[in-house]
Symmetry: C2
Subunit: 391 residues, 2 copies
């Protein structure tokens, strides 16, 4: 964005989403109960952006008659697309990078996400995904005895020793690590969720070449692999299974949103993916949400509000997706119309296109960025053309 | 609508707007305070319609894959247009009849509404608008004495005798009567706000041919004119200046909406219109609203939300307006694009086109209806074409 802003002589504005970072409408009480959380919805966030744009246009000299483009990645990309859909009078277009606007209800198969994660590992080293697939049963076998639990705690260098109740949590934590690696499988060293080397899954997979070994050896290899993600710096004294990312991405706010509007069905079957089979269970989610927040999810609302797959009457949205990114499974990866277009980045992970340019950028992301800029220029040109016609 | 539904083999659904009629979310407490009224917004009403359509499609056999068209008049017309703008995946198009979507902020001059009322009276009989213009000073002169007040109370057959504090209210009531007559100046006897004869303003103006008479005679004529509106049936024993329409149009709900989102600036200057000069006073409205509801209006919000004049990226909306209708001043009366079209009814008052067909319908409304149906058929055809392409 910094690079393109300069090329387009644009001002960049980063709007902080309400209930994230410092934008807490009720200060420390913002997450106290569902009454205080009532104002945390995507619709309210979009309305904030509308008010912000009006405010900036009113107060910044020269801004009044300038075209605006919405840009975002991930949930921010969903918001960018939705903003253009709901407030087309405010922005001439939107770049929705890695925006899984279809990861709702049954718009895409619930297994597609983990299938893409698995493909990333399968393609990043021989027997890599197979080693991971076999690791779950190895953990299950070891965790059935006290000595096994102790061995696991030590082998994984965990900060707290495992009890048998922790095993599901341990496996979830490991799964989320593989998922996160798939999201940040960038072609150069980076620090999005964790400091990581270039193509981190390839590095991880160097430890996972042989699935046909004993449980102990397999899990020692798994630890080496996890260590790439959690201890690339070499500074970590132990691994903490209650954390999967450094810094705060606003987990509280997201947990509430996932319990209300943003209900994304995920599932695994262990065949098309390398994970233990787990079906999508709305009832379980609903009960957990009720316990944590006193609310129950409305799984159909996002589709009702934003149209699901039926969005062809909108215009001027570029949906970009990296083929390595598991979120691409819920994204728009085929053109819908001439002005609702999909850009695919074959060597891209989660919104690689939004990152600053890098000498190691693959051709596919360079091409994507140049396509995106071409669309932006078209939107801006059309905007000035229509302004000209009015006078 | 009944006629067209039959032609299109359509189901007609009348959705009652929340906080109106029997749709009271908190029963008798719905209007108790601003906390209970918090859910009375146009956005929430649109969301209701979205949920209703989904519900009907899910539960009515054969409805699932049928195209839906939004239809409404007046505020309902605004909602129809806004619904197509915000939920284009739910309706293939909208007929927005007499929908003053631009009667906000400075999108149109605040005086246009009363100017159209005045034109209706000026064209409906010689010296008619001039008689009304002169009546205000006559009332002011008479009301300066006790005997004058008494005379006025008797001459107007008022249910309660006037005090000097009532005079502004009396004039507002008379003004609103002329406004209402302009809205329902239909070519045949009707009963929308009151039972009335055909072309009621012509009937009214028969009493207002001579402005050059004494105050007493002028005001006796004004009474005869008012009597056409309030006592066409001949049953009224007296006139009640706290009522301008029979039955309930939901004045409480509307008063709250006018104090929050639906802030419509009106003004008069006594030159371009036949009313006493009155400028638009947001401060006064805001204070009144705060006193009545504990809320203050947000005059820019509707424009922020629905785009004001910048709506050209939307499609498939017909805006119809009657030239006799004062609300046409805030309506869309020129085509915006090929699919955002204006239909003008030269002899039409407030959403005449939505009324059942009548032998006395002027050609202009017959033409309008046939245009509207042609657009509806196009939307439906395009819908089936696009469905066909997907399979």
């Amino acid at each position: 964005m910094w690079d393109v802003a300069e090329e387009l002589k644009a001002m960049l504005v980063f709007a902080e989403h309400r209930y994230y970072g410092e934008s807490l409408p009720f200060g420390d009480s913002s997450f106290k109960d569902s009454r205080h959380l009532n104002f945390l919805t995507s619709e309210q966030a979009l309305a904030d952006f509308a008010e912000l744009i009006k405010h900036l246009k009113r107060t910044i000299p020269g801004a009044e008659n300038q075209p605006v483009i919405a840009i975002g990645g991930s949930y921010g990309g969903m918001l960018a697309a939705w903003f253009r859909m709901k407030y087309p009078h405010m922005v001439v277009g939107a770049l929705a990078a890695s925006a899984p606007i279809w990861q709702f209800e049954d718009l895409v198969p619930c297994g597609v996400f983990m299938k893409i994660v698995t493909t990333d590992f399968r393609k990043s080293g021989p027997h890599c995904s197979e080693s991971i697939r076999r690791s779950w049963d190895a953990i299950n076998r070891l965790s059935s005895t006290g000595s096994g639990l102790q061995w696991l705690s030590e082998a994984f260098h965990l900060c707290s020793p495992l009890t048998s109740e922790d095993i599901q949590h341990l496996k979830d934590w490991i799964s989320e690590t593989w998922v996160n690696l798939a999201m940040v499988d960038y072609p150069y060293a980076s620090n999005f969720l964790q400091p990581l080397p270039a193509w981190p899954i390839k590095v991880v997979c160097q430890y996972l070449k042989n699935p046909n070994v004993s449980d102990l050896l397999l899990l020692q290899n798994i630890f080496q692999a996890l260590n790439v993600y959690y201890n690339y710096s070499g500074q970590a004294k132990c691994l903490n299974i209650s954390e999967t990312a450094t810094g705060s991405l606003g987990t509280l706010g997201w947990s509430y949103q996932a319990c209300t509007e943003v209900v994304m069905p995920f599932c695994t079957n262990g065949v098309d993916d390398m994970f233990e089979p787990h079906s999508w269970n709305l009832k379980e989610l609903s009960d957990d949400c009720f316990q944590q927040w006193g609310v129950r999810p409305r799984p159909s609302w996002i589709t009702t509000m934003y149209g699901g797959k039926n969005i062809s009457s909108h215009t001027n949205i570029v949906f970009s997706n990296g083929e390595l990114d598991p979120w691409s499974g819920g994204g728009v990866t085929k053109d819908i119309t001439d002005t609702l277009v999909a850009v695919t980045i074959s060597e891209g992970a989660h919104h690689l296109d939004l990152r600053a340019k890098n000498a190691l950028d693959p051709t596919s992301v360079l091409l994507a960025r140049s396509l995106e800029v071409r669309h932006m220029k078209n939107w801006i040109r059309d905007f000035y053309d229509s302004v000209g016609k009015q006078h």
